[in-house]
Symmetry: C2
Subunit: 474 residues, 2 copies
């Protein structure tokens, strides 16, 4: 299967053929989101933003430019990002008095405003989000969707009265992302990153690493507890119920839209093209009439009737009436675009007032009466999601292999392109050695499941503190 043998070529072909992204834009690392791809992204954003709204977040929009002095306020943060920001130095033919940078992430755009808005405990918690593009000058090779210099994400930023409340917010953020990822049928590990790999300025970072056919994990989301670090740098304080001024405690989390659509494609699709979860498919059902000269009139009329029935139920349905294509060509075309359910309407279906349903996920066919069609399609959607989830989950399980010694570790990650599960003593030296031996990195330990190390550190043989996952990453 090309997907697992030559992921990169397979992936690029799908992006191009299914109208997801055109990578020929004349600036490296920047690409055009085409209609089908961008509609999918809009549907994902809608699911995510609704959930954020329901949990008390509010949408805002902050400028794309950040002044240099605000960017420099939190010392760890600037250390982490300064090598990869784009600088605006001129406007027209004038040099700017103060340089501006394109947001690589929005802490330093938002927090000077938080300092103005937050006065008292009554202003807390503050929970803000925006869905925007961010800019990072990646020096590694860029890859469409997976590693871009401009990529799309949703970022949320919150401020709280105490460390405990911030901790609760971290849990809520994880739940929100789990909820959305589940609706997309994605499989991934929720890992607490080792300290040397946390977000620049955070107390700790938790990340969602999705499996990818080539064995490199794809970080689709992150959640950070920022503690008081940014509050101190930006002087974000509030007056508590006793009139005492205190720093706020902050969290932030990012949902990588470009990387999430990459994960959806990478995990679910096959060598025929895209396979889309029904919730985000721009077209959920396509109707293809099978026409023969003698019965074309009746079948066409019946296809329109079927279309109206399905449409009135709220399902996103399209009737393919193109005249210069055979039904076979139409099947092929819509399979490429990953439409979850195809409805074939032929002379026999018409005579018996039935429809033939074919699900994209495994091309299994069912014939049902027109009266049952909507119910049958809706239960197909559920069934499709179950299959996508199970498939993806079992692939993730296959990808994870225990490494009991260094040579196994090297073999698993470097040769077999899998994710190694190893015991680690938590020393930076052993982490460095793990990187050397495996060609990958320690991605962290699971936070959703407690895993106790039952063996010594895979490198030094001393007592292990954590069971960690090692993989190459995008």
């Amino acid at each position: 299967m090309k997907k697992f043998e030559n992921f990169s070529e397979w992936f690029d072909e799908i992006l191009f053929n299914a109208d997801i992204l055109d990578n020929r834009y004349p600036v490296k690392g920047f690409a055009v989101y085409k209609a089908w791809g961008f509609k999918i992204i809009k549907n994902i954003v809608e699911i995510l933003e609704r959930k954020l709204d329901e949990t008390g977040h509010v949408p805002m929009l902050f400028p794309v430019v950040i002044p240099e002095d605000a960017f420099a306020k939190e010392s760890e943060h600037i250390k982490g990002f300064s090598s990869e920001v784009f600088w605006i130095t001129h406007a027209g033919d004038r040099e700017l008095d103060k340089r501006l940078l394109l947001r690589p992430t929005s802490e330093t755009a938002m927090y000077p405003m938080f300092a103005l808005w937050i006065r008292s405990h009554a202003d807390l918690p503050l929970k803000v989000y925006q869905s925007v593009a961010v800019y990072r000058y990646e020096t590694k090779a860029t890859r469409p969707l997976l590693r871009m210099r401009e990529f799309l994400w949703n970022e949320a930023h919150t401020a709280h009265r105490s460390w405990e409340e911030a901790e609760k917010q971290v849990m809520e953020a994880i739940e929100i992302y789990n909820y959305v990822f589940k609706r997309l049928g994605l499989s991934y590990l929720v890992l607490r990153r080792p300290d040397f790999d946390k977000f620049a300025g955070a107390v700790y970072s938790i990340a969602f690493d999705a499996w990818n056919p080539d064995g490199r994990v794809n970080q689709i989301g992150t959640v950070h507890n920022l503690g008081e670090n940014f509050a101190k740098a930006f002087e974000i304080t509030y007056e508590d119920v006793n009139g005492v001024h205190r720093n706020v405690f902050q969290t932030c989390y990012g949902f990588g839209l470009s990387r999430v659509i990459a994960a959806i494609i990478a995990q679910h699709s096959d060598d025929h093209g895209l396979i889309l979860p029904p919730d985000i498919a721009p077209i959920q059902v396509v109707i293809v009439p099978i026409l023969y000269k003698e019965t074309a009139g009746e079948v066409n009329a019946y296809a329109k009737e079927v279309y109206e029935v399905i449409k009135s139920s709220g399902i996103r349905v399209h009737l393919d009436e193109t005249e210069d294509k055979t039904p076979g060509e139409k099947f092929y075309y819509w399979e490429m675009f990953g439409v979850p359910v195809r409805v074939e309407v032929g002379p026999r279906d018409q005579r018996e007032r039935k429809v033939t349903l074919v699900r994209r996920v495994d091309l299994k066919r069912t014939v049902v009466s027109l009266e049952e069609a909507v119910t049958a399609i809706k239960s197909l959607f559920t069934e499709i999601m179950r299959i996508l989830e199970e498939r993806s989950n079992s692939t993730l399980k296959e990808f994870i292999v225990d490494a009991c010694d260094q040579s196994a570790l090297g073999e698993i990650v470097k040769l077999n392109r899998k994710i190694a599960r190893v015991c680690w003593c938590e020393s930076v030296e052993c982490a460095e050695k793990i990187r050397e031996v495996s060609g990958g990195e320690i991605r962290g330990y699971r936070v959703d499941v407690e895993e106790k190390p039952e063996k010594p550190c895979v490198i030094c043989g001393r007592e292990a503190k954590r069971v960690v996952y090692v993989a190459r990453a995008y």
Copy 2:
């Protein structure tokens, strides 16, 4: 009335108090869209994009950066924009090989891709849109929403087989914008700009100028016929049915989201705060329970029942259960935010199973039974829109004054801050003189109504070719 006497102060207060925009961001011309404002914008975008989808446009997303060489391809275009673009010259500590600019508009980002996508007549028409921020280094004083260096818009770009098809597209674009503006209750003039004021690179430009309380018109949308100008520069050709290669004909149009929300505020709101058209109000109905000690329990329970009834109808409703505010404070608060309908629920309403409806537009009250509430609210919405439209329309009419000579022209525009209607010979010299005398500019002639000049040119006295509108502008 402050709105008409001191527009600028009144406007800034509303932006701040109604949580629309915070202008204290530390970069001039860049501001933060706050929750209430950004929700309104999202609702406007939804109405507009649905209409664009229905008329065969597809959403895409192009990069924010444009390489210098693409930007320079169409000579008129670069002449028009080069003095006001932001330049990215560095990334990290490296100087870029080729400078990038932030899109001031997206012709030069999109059309190199159009040249790759368009091959044959079957690829036409191509109708693409995106809702994004654009960047223009305004050297005039910046104003929140009205003149920003970063502003939000929706831009559509189309390619066609012929001049005639492009002309039809211009008409469709005008209809689409008229449709959306009507749903927002806005009043404006649809004007063909004089040649010296057309979009840089266009054959001609049509613009929507909304009235503003201070007499300066606010351009909320533009539609351009680009002819073959960009097709020639970017080599966008197609093979026609006879195998002949031809240039495409293009149009583009922009819907100024930042300026549209400015127009909504400026035209509809009053000295109590915002007044929102129901279609775009984040909360359409707010319920305020009027509580007295003895009956608080029953009234609260009844208010919840009212809430459920209204909510189940799909209306965006909020029950204000805040405990530390009096009903009067709640009225005042929601009036500031422009919520179209307030539902007061007091002991008597509860006893009689009625509700008191108060519409924001004129604070008129009606009492209806709970059973009739949803129907009554929906017809209030219609009535509110009729009132907003009529009010705004009659203000526009009052703003337009005929100027029969130069001194009248000066008086109308400069002194009285109105829009002057004058006859003009179409010479550039007289246009220059009109600018001098009036302190405003020729905004163009109406395209929705044919107006024949019945007098000579207001400046030179020779035969007039057009009836044009003269005003100061944002």
